[in-house]
């Protein structure tokens, strides 16, 4: 990643904020923390952010108030609402006010990472942006995959999975996390491991027939790791 993206994490739960910040730093972001609306407003004036992670339930008010302020000031700031309240009306209200995405607590870091990157890509109109990793080239907007410059046909799920792995390199991603990621479109309660297994198996098979390296490693049967030397 060429440019380090500044990310503002508005979160009143300190422990969660600490983990999030550590995770974001690890993944090449430059995160800032605000524990309430007041300090968030202050930081927004001082720094140039690519994205904001906004918790709704803050000690000094509802995070909703900040959505319009952020979007009015600079529309390209990616805004992801993070809330423990899985209330549909809140979700709709937030998205209508201009938020770009909505994550319900508890979420998994790789999921957050993937969504952050996607939001930043989208807002910076990096339409033809390529994600290049050795022999693998991904074109997220067109959902195209090139291996050694050759087109590889992947299903939407497989492409999503590969993009997810590429966004979360060298991390152990548990089956649960992957299951959540894969089932996020299903608005679903509990997804099965074998679905995850089947998709990863198919993806690995396709990658290997295109002579790509075997990046996706099984970790003790409990998760996977996209290993890049």
């Amino acid at each position: 990643m060429l440019k380090k993206h500044n990310i503002l994490v508005v979160e009143d739960e300190l422990e969660l904020a600490k983990s999030t910040l550590a995770y974001l730093t690890e993944n090449g972001f430059s995160p800032f923390h605000a524990k309430d609306l007041k300090s968030a407003r202050k930081l927004l004036k001082q720094e140039n952010f690519s994205a904001v992670l906004l918790d709704l339930g803050l000690p000094d008010g509802d995070g909703m108030a900040l959505i319009k302020e952020i979007k009015n000031a600079k529309n390209e700031i990616g805004l992801i609402i993070v809330s423990a309240k899985d209330a549909l009306d809140k979700k709709i209200e937030g998205l209508e006010l201009g938020a770009d995405d909505y994550l319900t607590k508890p979420y998994f870091f790789p999921e957050l990472n993937a969504r952050l990157k996607s939001v930043i890509r989208r807002l910076n109109l990096e339409v033809n942006q390529e994600i290049i990793l050795n022999e693998i080239t991904l074109l997220p907007e067109q959902m195209r995959t090139l291996i050694h410059g050759e087109e590889l046909e992947l299903t939407a799920k497989e492409f999503g999975l590969l993009l997810y792995f590429v966004s979360n390199q060298n991390r152990v991603i548990s089956k649960t996390t992957l299951g959540e990621f894969m089932s996020s479109n299903y608005a679903d309660y509990g997804f099965t491991d074998d679905v995850v297994y089947t998709h990863i198996k198919n993806l690995k098979k396709k990658l290997s027939t295109s002579n790509a390296d075997d990046y996706i490693k099984n970790v003790y049967g409990v998760g996977y790791k996209f290993t890049v030397a």
């Binding site: 608005a187 309660y189 049967g221 998760g223």
Partner: protein, 410 residues
Amino acid sequence: MKLLTKTSLNFISASVIFFLVGSMAMYFSVRNIIAKDLQNRLLQQQNEFIYTAQQNKVTDLVSELVFIQTTEKKRLHSFSDTVLIVNEKYILYRKLVFSYAQNEQDYKVSILLSQSESDKLIMKIAIMNIGFAMLFFLIMFFVNRRSVRNALTVFYSTIRKLEDFEVNQITTLSLDTAEIEEVKKLNEVFEKMSAQIRQDFISQKEYTGNISHELQTPLAIISSKADELMQADNLSKEQMEQLALLLETTNRLSKINQALIFLTKIDNRFYTEGSTFAINDLLKEKLTMFGELIADKNIVLKLDVLDTTHVYMDKYLADTLLVNLIKNSLVHNKQGGELIVELASNRLSISNSGNPLTFAESDIFKRFTRSEHNKKSLGIGLSVVQSICELYGFDLQYSYDGMHNFIIKF
């Protein structure tokens, strides 16, 4: 029975009874008065007779209605009724018999007075009485009806407003101000009650929201810490497995929490707004969404959409309903099994070739009922389906005939 009908009926029955009793009493008292009058007139005639008899011979005084006979008896004096046939008509007469002495001869004098005139009078009075009374009651009936109806206008408006009252509407229940003390009081009680119900509803809403928030945040911390720990390089297989299990369990806990909150929301009618739409397209969309999962399990999908079926539902709930039903039919299906989806004339049936149930058929929609074959399932999806069907009054049925059949009648 309507209040107005009831009061009207009461009024009519009471009126009829009082009218009958009153008329009877009046009839007899009028008859009595007239009989007395008749008697007085007879006594007057007796006096006149005696006066005339002093100058004339008694026997000359015989006339059409005065009969004189000689008699031995003295001191006769009595009233009685008698009937004379005049021109072949029976005519009722009142008769006064008394004795009169002249020239040492006692005479029995009978004076008759026709009662037909007074009978006619009684009849006329009776008719007039009935007529007036009827008119009076008729007027009273309508006046009473109108006044009761007027007085109850506010009452009826209250009933209408209560019928339309829904606890999750933004507007509070505001009832008309009534002139009548009782209705006023009733409205006050209703307004108080509705405010209390709304207050409870809001607290409950907040409570579920808080529970959700208070549980989800710690869960988020646990899973983020577990995820962080998993990234350590020097973990043994066992440690890694334990962390993975911790993550999985936390996730499961969070899902259960969310699902229960969702169920509570449905049961408490948080989702009442909706729109009418054809469910056909949504069904196809959801089946497409599950396309990969269907392919993964080599499941044969037989889709048969005959009619356009319109439903009135919240879109989000419709979505959840279909997703849960389809997912259930896939997750519990066999590898290479069958999925039959039929939509015809307001009836949706989804059948799958999963293994037979390992629990009682009647428990299928109960929360936390899980199949032995799939212990990872939360056992909530079908409860959600049932709650949504109940909310909209859809008929949901389950049957097993080698296939598990779920049938919804919209």
